[in-house]
Subunit: 338 residues, 2 copies
DNA sequence: CCCGATGTTGGTAACGTTACCAACCGCGAG
DNA sequence: CTCGCGGTTGGTAACGTTACCAACATCGGG
């Protein structure tokens, strides 16, 4: 940490002496003014305005039992609009409860997550909301976190029992795949994340269940499960479509894979590559999907709502309205046919 | 089996007594261990691990001159990927300097911005980074902020002299419009924000300059400057294209207007509406632009870099390497023809 | 063997705030 | 006129931490 010029804000004492009262009277006035004469309150508020005084929140939260008013939020990738919306939802609910959020980006890095959580605890956060990097759970155990409540979002951590907010990944993937099967497709490819990614695994399970329930075998040749970014997804789609026996439809488990697949489909059409024009089901919405050259079904959801739900769960622990074992909220997803 | 209940965070005193030393020795050990015997350090670290101790950062920053390690960041709309990337850039540089960010969303609301800034100051932030809502500047004046340095991003505040990071809005819009003129277009529409939005005004100026420099008159009938969201942009594009004398090309001043225009263009093609297929220049990139049914030129830039630049400017003030009058950094934009 | 230098450790005070208690005021009831 | 009560105000201590200084141990050189 680099050196910093000292930040000299006026203190409560300076306000007090300017208003001709004691610091206690200033404190009482700022706390609502109970049992302070109206004319004294006015003098105090005038001094506050004149000096540009702000209460030192860090000093306030020093006394035990006092909340810091901060919620620690760690997400995996702020550049992804999904997590931006998620963070927005958390911020909204936090603001409704008079709290601020401290935000950290983990970049899917376990070490960074541990570092962020330590720092959040050190800053006396009132609660933690985390999109876990699915590493180990040691630093998230209650004995490490003390009394700080924790809510997991989007993913679970193996072996950790905590309040969790999830999407209906399995159900959404199941219904999306079923829609393709209902439309007569039997050769349906899968594009998604590897199984160590919690949502990747769940969405694959939904796909697999729909296929096997209808007696359609899953062909590993048209299942690609290791694409994290658009370029990798594009390459995986290309390999799949280049097969002698390419899929007639594709289930894409997330936004990144859908965009990659679309790029490859667009390229083939521009270059006049022969072959089927696959139907696509995408878990995650994307803009201008209606302008795509192939029919796209969207499994849609609201990341902002997910964030709101996570924060609501957290505050229900903070205000004591919820006690007992960890709860899981699974938000529904909607399906929009082209 | 009993649930592991969270416990109060241990203090430095408890660590000290467990390690059989004084709090000062614990403090010294955690501060790097200068002048502490190695075996004592080990005892202390063992106690720290056993008790799960974290330094109380709020208490640390209580002594004057000590930085809080927090940077206050207020942006207008976290749901917009542009600002998500911006926040990511700020977070990255802050993390490189061992700082965390407190994030607030203003939603373009002046009152909310004032409230956020007050709270940030009250939390003793070491610096502020703000995408201003372009309201008045009273709460951002140095006499209100004390010694807390401020960096504005994307926009200026009228009458406020502060470090600022901008895009080359005028130049980008000029070059984008010029590209259309070079391609032979003379009837070029404009879609953008109203002039009270800082970037809206600057981008219009670039468009206007390119037009007048080449002696092409600006026709108010094909200039629409009051669309904040996709639906409004779509309606404005529709009205423009429905004219007896519609534009053959469109300059769109931001992402939201581009998406709206694209929706309308796609609708007309689907519905077989007669008329020209306008070329489009878009200030802001968007995904799958290469799949659009009309040629799209992108004026691209890197919001994450903008965030990094803003944070770099802030830290140059914090570590004293930059002094003197307010500086403005204008980041270049690139043009990608279809 | 002593002395100063160096390394190690602990006590005290202070950062800004507020809970708690004590002191004081004015007013109405007895 | 006194007493007591409620409303108002101020003093003190404490929250967890670290800068500063004092105290003590150890060691090498004279």
């Amino acid at each position: 940490m680099s050196t910093v010029r000292g930040v000299r804000q006026p203190t409560i004492k300076e306000v007090a002496s300017r208003a001709g009262v004691s610091p206690m009277t200033v404190s009482r006035t700022l706390a609502g003014g109970r049992n302070v004469r109206p004319d004294v309150q006015e003098r105090v508020m005038a001094a506050v305005r004149e000096l540009g005084y702000y209460r030192n929140e860090n000093a306030r939260s020093l006394r035990p039992g006092q909340p810091s008013g901060l919620i620690g939020v760690a997400i995996t990738n702020l550049a992804n609009p999904y997590y931006g919306n998620f963070a927005l939802g958390v911020e909204e609910v936090a603001a409704e409860h008079g709290r601020r959020i401290i935000l950290g980006n983990t970049g899917e890095d376990d070490a960074r997550e541990r570092q962020l959580v330590s720092d959040f605890i050190g800053r006396q956060v009132d609660g933690l909301i985390l999109v876990p990097t699915s590493g180990d759970a040691a630093h998230l155990r209650p004995e490490r976190l003390g009394e700080v409540p924790l809510v997991l979002a989007s993913r679970r951590v193996p072996g950790l029992d905590a309040d969790t907010v999830l999407l209906d990944d399995v159900g959404g993937a199941y219904r999306g795949t079923a829609a393709l099967l209902d439309a007569g497709h039997t050769r349906i490819g899968f594009l998604g994340n590897r199984s160590s990614v919690f949502t990747g695994e769940r969405r694959y399970r939904g796909y697999e269940r729909a296929m096997t329930e209808r007696g359609v075998p899953v062909d590993p040749a048209i299942v690609a499960r290791d694409q994290q970014d658009v370029d990798a997804a594009s390459r995986a789609a290309r390999a799949m479509f280049d097969l002698a026996d390419p899929p007639t439809a594709v289930f894409s488990a997330n936004n990144r894979n859908t965009i990659g697949a679309m790029r490859e489909i667009g390229r083939r059409l521009r270059d006049g590559v022969p072959g089927p024009r696959p139907a696509v089901v995408s878990f995650d919405d994307f803009e201008l999907s209606e302008l795509m050259p192939v029919p796209v079904t969207i499994i849609d959801h609201d990341a902002r709502l997910l964030g709101r739900e996570a924060a609501t769960l957290l505050f229900s622990r903070l205000d004591g309205s919820a006690e007992g074992p960890a709860r899981t909220v699974e938000l529904p997803v909607s399906i929009e046919s082209p």
